[in-house]
Amino acid sequence: MNNGRHLASTLGALAAVLVAAACQDGASPTAQSITAGVKPGPSSCVNFRLTGGGRVDKLEPATGKNPPASHDYATFGFQARPDRNCPFDNAGSGNIEWNEHLDASFIYGGGFAFHGTVTFFSTPVDGTQTNPQCGRFGGTGRLNPRSGNTLENLPFEVRHACDVAEPGVQQDHIYIVIGPFADGSFYSRHSLLTGGNIQWHRLTGNN
């Protein structure tokens, strides 16, 4: 629980925030399904995409790597974009890989590898929403723990991934939440990059 962050005990309050955030901008498929009685209109999706990969260590705004023996870091790679057909508001596509090394990173311990599929993609709804080069996306995925059984269909949300500058080390940042797990807890990590990069690209005519 270094820096009081990222681990398994954020619990129900965070769940409420996540649900509220999803409903606030109609970003999730669930939010779409509860609009019964409303005549469907043209759906809308954002006009940018994000890619990124690298490493994160300390809780933002701290920078730098944690001591290696702590195992307190994660690596990741992702691509996320609006769905080309935009079947519902903020429909998204893409993938994320998240590899956590901290032993105490969730209820079973031992770190994990998470493989997520993106289903929604939008602008952020948190404190980064005024940054034009940040995005938010999420969906569900499979978590393979170093110990314990594989968990399927776990929700995840990258609450923001921000392309602040080039190169991205100690400037770009990402905030991911995975869960809830069986005990109602969540995993999260919110850090500046200690390696790698995040890039924001505006969509053009053919991409």
Partner: protein, 204 residues
């Protein structure tokens, strides 16, 4: 006036210039006595996107043994900037019959190009609980650190090889462990072992 037109054309060309990206990552590569073995490789499509290569375990007796191999590369080609980034990770690593061991090996590279500048680096690469010849290495390993491995050959740790001309192209390859196997009598290279490899590059 002519100068202004040339400047405008140059800026316009810069705005629509074609860029390309490459990326690759893998956990282990072994070439011993002409026989090669390699764990899954993640290779970035030339148009950008994402690729992964993963394996629960990988081993070549006497050469390398590792678990939880995870290789990821992502990238994008845009009108104004492009980038590629790759990561390779392995756990419970043993190399060259245990001459080198580590709890975790992590290789990270990132390369980017804008309209007028670019760069590449291996920040984020490192070891967890690295032991070489029975000696624990508790500090970060400087790029291109050579260590002798008696009876085996030598290794370059955190091997970093820049790519590109630094003007229109940038890139880097990081091999966290690169063992050069040598004949004990002749000193000639007889093979190699690479563990934790990530590379990326961009070009305008």
């Amino acid at each position: 006036m002519t100068l202004k037109i040339l400047l405008a054309l140059t800026l316009l060309a810069g705005a629509v210039q074609a860029q390309s990206v490459t990326g690759q990552a893998f956990g282990t590569y072994v070439n011993v006595a002409g026989t090669t073995s390699q764990s899954p490789v993640a290779t970035l499509p030339s148009t950008g996107g994402m690729a992964t290569g993963m394996s629960d375990a990988f081993g070549v007796p006497g050469s390398v043994d590792a678990k939880a191999l995870n290789a990821v590369t992502t990238g994008d080609v845009g009108n104004k900037k492009s980038g590629a980034q790759s990561t390779s990770e392995l756990e419970n690593v043993s190399v060259a019959g245990g001459a080198i061991t580590a709890d975790v090996v992590t290789a990270v590279t990132a390369s980017y190009a804008g309209q007028f500048t670019g760069g590449a680096g291996g920040d984020g690469s490192g070891f967890v609980n690295l032991v070489v010849n029975g000696v624990a290495i508790t500090t970060d390993v400087a790029p291109n650190t050579r260590v002798d491995l008696p009876g085996v050959g030598y290794a370059v740790l955190n091997e970093q090889t820049p790519m590109g001309d630094g003007v229109t192209s940038w890139g880097i390859t990081v091999n966290m462990v690169h063992v050069f196997l040598q004949d004990a009598l002749t000193g000639l290279n007889t093979g190699e072992i690479i563990v934790g490899s990530a590379s990326s590059s961009v070009a305008n």
